[in-house]
Symmetry: C2
Subunit: 354 residues, 2 copies
Amino acid sequence: MASQSISALKTAKSVTEGPQRQLLLPAPYLVFLGNARSRADLKTAMGLREWAPDSCLGQYRMHPDVPGIGLPDLTFEAARKNGAKSLLIGIATDGGRLSESWWPDLRAAVRMGLGIISGMHQSLTTVPGLAALAEENGCHLIDIRHWQPPLTVGTGSKRSGKRLLTVGTDCAIGKKYTALAITRAMAERGQAATFRATGQTGIMLAGSGVPIDSVISDFISGAAEALSPANAQGHWDIIEGQGALGHPAYAAVSLGLLHGSQPDYIILCHQPGRATLDGFPDFPVPSLKNAIEINLAMGQLTNPHIRCAGISLNTAGLTPDERADLLERTADQHGVPCFDPMVSCLDPLLDFLL
Amino acid sequence: MASQSISALKTAKSVTEGPQRQLLLPAPYLVFLGNARSRADLKTAMGLREWAPDSCLGQYRMHPDVPGIGLPDLTFEAARKNGAKSLLIGIATDGGRLSESWWPDLRAAVRMGLGIISGMHQSLTTVPGLAALAEENGCHLIDIRHWQPPLTVGTGSKRSGKRLLTVGTDCAIGKKYTALAITRAMAERGQAATFRATGQTGIMLAGSGVPIDSVISDFISGAAEALSPANAQGHWDIIEGQGALGHPAYAAVSLGLLHGSQPDYIILCHQPGRATLDGFPDFPVPSLKNAIEINLAMGQLTNPHIRCAGISLNTAGLTPDERADLLERTADQHGVPCFDPMVSCLDPLLDFLL
């Protein structure tokens, strides 16, 4: 599974998509690993390596002790000659800062004609001299977290094509991974499908998307509508969910995305054994039944035919027997396919959907 | 009723409120009526005149044909001498543009030492030379629509004090007016209460608040929490609602505000006879019962004791008999006080709440 890219899925182009309504990342990338001390700092880079290998020309390490991700080491010059369009920052830091130790390399990359893509909180424009160099060299500086789509209010109007949205009982519970796995499984069946990214990592993997939690509240449904524009009748948009409707901090993001996505189907993502919301110990994780009901109740506003198509469980730590038992019991209890996207065959889900 | 100001209510200070977590407007104001052709252009100015007369020193008209709002005409110089701190733009334009015909006056006001407060979409910083003049003269330029609170994620933690939030079956259905009327009625009973503004007009009337629909989605609950910080046990925050949970464009704003406000009570605002959402003819206005249920169901996340305290109806156009009949029937049907804040005595509601 890990050897197949989702870039194959990008052939299914939307019929109305304009270039400016989504953030588009110029590929292929040279992946910047900086001065990472361990692979724990390189989750973004490793996700790229797994889900978008065709977009990754090589890796750049500041010194040989930095762990690699299995791509060829390239200088900025070599990467540029091989057709790289962007240096993509694949290393995470505390607080999302652009480490001062990287600055000389970022400037050198731009001087060589590479644009830069960053998912950090700190904007690339705060690196002294970088913006001027980028202008001089005709290079893009893309801050994924700072990008705003055009300010468009939602309409609620029905769009053609099929849509599936992953939703969750909490944040960080498998919504992106589930959407990626479903998109890949559909592609393997020859089904036209597009992964629609709503978070910075997803956008890096897909090469396009809308960072939905950065959108000004008034325009969130409009931004979600733009993310999955009208498409061919048989085409599927598989939309990466965000947050959870039962989350005291992020429910608004989830609701705007649900309304704007107008999904035909939701998949509920859940981690068995998680008792309280991550980082919010006073808030219990809702039951699967409640989480499904509230998503369907709210989603009916923009798609009266919304249905739950399955439950995605993170079963890491269970034995194969325990896993099989849990998946079967959960499927029986809720009357929908239940799977772990890391290990399960998704055929039952696809049979249900297609 | 119209003769009493809500500024009297500002004595009830929050115990934890920092100056930076809400937008604060330096008063008193000289109200800029510009070149308005009719009072229809002057809704903001007239709202100020009614709800915050103590904050309005005078009016400024560009020529004598402009309709006044009953305040003394003052030059910039006279206003400054009388203690005015800001020129407040009280005229509306199509598309929220700062008319070029106003620019010389805006510059002249700043030269005289007046800051400027604007609720327009177009930023004051786009008026050529204005920002430099403001810096030179130590004057504030406040764009209410562009202001962002500190980026604080919601916590869902319970805060002390009582909170009431006005919610609606649609946008533009009386949520601001209802909150203002309840705040005033409480003040008349000697009850400590603060109107908490979430929209640009409300913020102008209150002199502070958070323009909630301008907040970045990820931080909307956090911004709503900051709007009504922990307060004395007996103090009431009366929070101006926005949008509607059943609205395809704006439900996310409503949900973030509901979760962050953690109201003890909601008041549902409705306009009898409105069949479809304003500007969204494909979306029916929900029933009162459904609108109450969905607000209580979602609001329970951050306040399990949330209750509906009443229904506010806009009964304009009904005869007194029709109105009395409708209010009585609605109150009976839903088991809560029902009133029209423009005409009803609010004693039954206050008896219910206090």
